[in-house]
Symmetry: C2
Subunit: 174 residues, 2 copies
């Protein structure tokens, strides 16, 4: 090993450590984050065995991790002439990839939950239309009001994250 390799490797490890923290905030698990950063820093496509060696984890763990990252569309499987093993490469465009998929995740979730809550709301409305015990009505009213605020909360989240889409921004700039 070259005299400065150890020094360089330490820096490498530090970068992986720090950058991973940020990627974990995009809802990646620590293991997924480290795997992505390893791949990203390496630049060239890597095989499962190389990743396994680089991170000191089992090949199975790499296989699982890569599967997740590919599903998240953050890593791509590439083909190289004469290479038998599967090769994977991290997407170069960090910002666009992470922001886009993250915002989409928020929008999907918020819309789904807003829908579920609206269903509950209409159930509640039906119930309120029927004749109710005197005491019951207040409770229904109470929950109904809260529900409306919660639904409003989801709508606001939706608007906010819609505005954040990089596509929307760049479309207006270009």
């Amino acid at each position: 090993m070259a005299p400065n390799s150890q020094f360089l490797e330490e820096l490498h490890t530090k970068v992986i450590h720090e950058f991973s923290k940020t990627l974990e905030m995009f809802a990646l698990s620590p293991a997924e984050a480290r795997l992505f950063v390893t791949l990203y820093l390496h630049g060239e496509p890597m095989t499962l065995d190389e990743m396994s060696k680089a991170l000191g984890k089992s090949k199975t763990a790499m296989s699982n991790g890569i599967k997740s990252l590919v599903e998240l569309n953050l890593v791509e499987r590439v083909w190289k002439k004469g290479v038998r093993k599967d090769l994977y490469q991290a997407d170069e465009n960090l910002y666009r990839k992470f922001m886009t998929s993250y915002i989409q995740k928020w929008l999907d979730a918020a819309q789904q939950q807003e829908h579920s809550l609206k269903e509950i709301e209409s159930t509640l409305e039906q119930k309120a239309d029927q004749l109710q015990e005197p005491g019951e009505m207040e409770e229904i009213e109470e929950l109904y009001n809260r529900l409306r605020d919660v639904i409003r909360f989801h709508r606001l989240i939706n608007e906010k994250f819609s505005d954040m889409k990089p596509s929307a921004q760049e479309a207006s700039i270009k």
Copy 2:
């Protein structure tokens, strides 16, 4: 129990279930999220024992959960004349509270990590200035370029989330 209480309680549970999913996306644990929603739906301040009963979890679990929520500034301890037990109340202003603290969390983290990465960068620059083995230089260059991209990524995140601050928005509207 009144004839329709069961029905109402079921709806209650459903709302807790759905709304909690959204709050989990704000980096609350499932338990913290359910606790907050319970408190929020109840409206009135609650004691640890009431929460414990409402969620069917131990009082200790409530104590821990509340501690987190208070630290996150999502729940407030209130005082009521003649009541001996501690009372806690969920903040009414869902959107502002959650968005503000969430964005702040992002900004703090991104800035912290950007700082760490810049330190690594300058270490690397110093190293590059020293005479290097012929092969080493490329590797250093390689890592250096990646590092710059990663730092740029953090800067972009920072800008994006700064723009999202509700305070910035509303200040310009009002």
